[in-house]
Every structure is written in structure tokens, then in C-alpha cells.
Symmetry: C2
Subunit: 150 residues, 2 copies
DNA sequence: TGGTAATGGTTGATTTTGTAACTATCAAGG
DNA sequence: CCTTGATAGTTACAAAATCAACCATTACCA
């Protein structure tokens, strides 16, 4: 059987292409507006969503590598959008949270994100999007467990 | 409305996480076996699938940037997995195709890919996978058209 | 024709990422 | 206590991706 493989239908390939296409369009917007990278935007959003978090918690939520997070945190800190607080009991741990300025930036970008979502709903329809979303959620839930182990 | 935005449900974010999780697992396998990068594997696969292609055609099929393709082509050429042929009519154009060794490598990795697909089917079920796939195809078709324009 | 724009592809410089090793702190067991 | 091992987070170095500028060639059109 020389050729029973179709790259174009290969799930990793498709997922990557779709992800690139969808998020590139959005990345351009917050990049143009704030000069922010994706890890920075993600970190900002996670903190805006969840309040205080440690770097490790951000990693668990987002599957971003430690080093990405570390650098994103520093960058946000330098903009005065985020501040660190040492944990009282465990001095290895730092709690991270947005400053008021960071909160404002978050809300501003969150608005861009909502607009973009509406745009996508317009393009694909509510239902198509919802079923896609369900599939993705399943993939993430299953594999992120496996990922933690290696 | 201070906080009507949920990053975790945001499509670009979800797509990226799913794509990363799914393709990282697979990337490790061909990387360990051949020391190949993703653009190289993609280029190999596209040529194995479609036969002769130009670099531009590869770009159109895969949404990879020119420079990635250029470097992947050179790397494959250095392994003697690929050869170039000048176009007769248009001297800017190069046609690319796999050598027999490249063809064998392709078939070998294609087998890894099929195994991986089977693994995913086992994890998620044929149906869930098919419906996810349908959604992704739709996204790709719609946005890659928009992408070409800018 | 000849000049300007567009296309195919490459290269070099810069930025981002990933990998590994490192510091500092805490946990557990003897 | 003291050693061994785990955990939180940073950093140095290598690999990869992006960006911009660049040839060479071809297409368009006044």
C-alpha cells in the first residue's frame, strides 16, 4: 500500500492550519494596538479572568511552557500592568495580579476579542462554531492530562 | 459589563491549545527518529502526497511562509531526499520532487502518522473526530481565502 | 521597445522559542 | 537535624521563526 496517507486530512496538520489562520487575524489586532506577544496577551487574559494566580497555575491552565510565562510576566511587569506578591508561607511562590492599568488594558483587549468572536459567529454560524468548540474541548481535556505526564 | 469574556472558551485560544497538544505528541516522534523539523516534515509530506510541486504551490497548500519553505527545501535537499528541476519556460520557477530515498522516508513517516491517527481515533472515537474534522475544514476553507488577500 | 510593477525564491538580521542547567526553597524520612 | 529529592521560578545557550531587504526573471502597458 504505497500511499494511503493524506496529509491534508491529517488532524494535527488541520488543527495547526486552522489555529494559525484564526489566531493570526486576531494577533495582528492586539499587536498593532499594544505591541504585545501572544504569551503576554494570554497571561494578561488569564489574570484578568481568574484574578490572582501563580505562574505554575498559569502553566496548568494554558499549557504554556514555564519560560514563556516567566518572560511574559516580566514584560507585563515592566509595563506596570502586573505586580508580584511573595507568598507568606512558601517563599518560592509568587502570586501575580493585574494592576488597575493592567485591568484596563485587559478590558480593552477583551472587547477586541468579543468583537472578533462575533465576527467568527457571523462567518461560520453559531451552531457550526459550537460543535467545533465541543470537539476541541474534548481534545484538550483528554490530551492535557496525558501531557502532564509526558 | 466588566467581564463578559472567557478566555477559556475563546476559539483562537482553544484551537491553539488543541493544535499544540495534538501535534507536539506527533512531532516528538518524527523528530526523535529523523531529527526533522515541522516545516521539513510538512514539505516532505506534501511532495510525497502530490508529487511534483513548486515552492509557491507548497506555500498555497500549507500556509507556510516562503522562508520556512525555502529552508526546509534546502535541508531536504542536503539529505538527498529531494531534488530541484528548473522550469523550462520560466527560469524563476523550480519544480521539486522527492528522490527514491525521500520517497522511502516519506512512506516511513506516513506510517507513523497513520499509527498516530489510529491512536487518536481510539482516544476520541471515529465520530467525534469526524465532526471535529468537518468544522476545521470549514474554518480553513473560509479563512484561507480571506488570508490570501490580507 | 523600455520602464515599472509583480513574481519566485533566497539571504541576513532580529526576535522568539525550546532545552537544560541552575538557584532557592520546601518536604520527607532516617 | 541532615540528606535526598521535589518544586517554583529564572537564566544561558542553541534552534527556529519572522521581517525586511534583496536578486533574477517575467508581465504589463504606455
Amino acid at each position: 500500500m504505497p500511499d494511503e496517507f493524506d496529509l491534508d486530512a491529517f488532524l494535527p496538520y488541520r488543527l495547526n492550519r486552522a489555529a494559525e489562520l484564526v489566531s493570526l487575524r486576531f494577533a495582528r489586532r492586539y499587536r498593532d494596538r499594544y505591541g504585545m506577544t501572544r504569551p503576554e496577551w494570554r497571561t494578561l487574559a488569564l489574570l484578568g479572568n481568574n484574578g490572582r494566580l501563580t505562574a505554575t497555575a498559569i502553566g496548568a491552565l494554558s499549557t504554556m511552557h514555564k519560560t514563556k510565562i516567566s518572560r511574559a510576566v516580566r514584560a507585563l511587569e515592566e509595563r506596570h500592568w502586573l505586580r508580584r506578591q511573595a507568598d507568606v508561607d512558601d517563599r518560592r511562590v509568587e502570586h501575580l495580579e493585574l494592576t488597575p492599568a493592567g485591568q484596563r488594558a485587559y478590558e480593552d483587549i477583551a472587547r477586541l476579542a468579543r468583537d472578533y468572536e462575533a465576527e467568527l459567529r457571523g462567518l461560520f454560524g453559531q451552531n457550526a462554531l459550537a460543535s467545533l468548540d465541543k470537539g476541541l474541548e474534548r481534545v484538550i481535556a483528554t490530551l492535557s492530562r496525558a501531557h502532564e505526564k509526558g
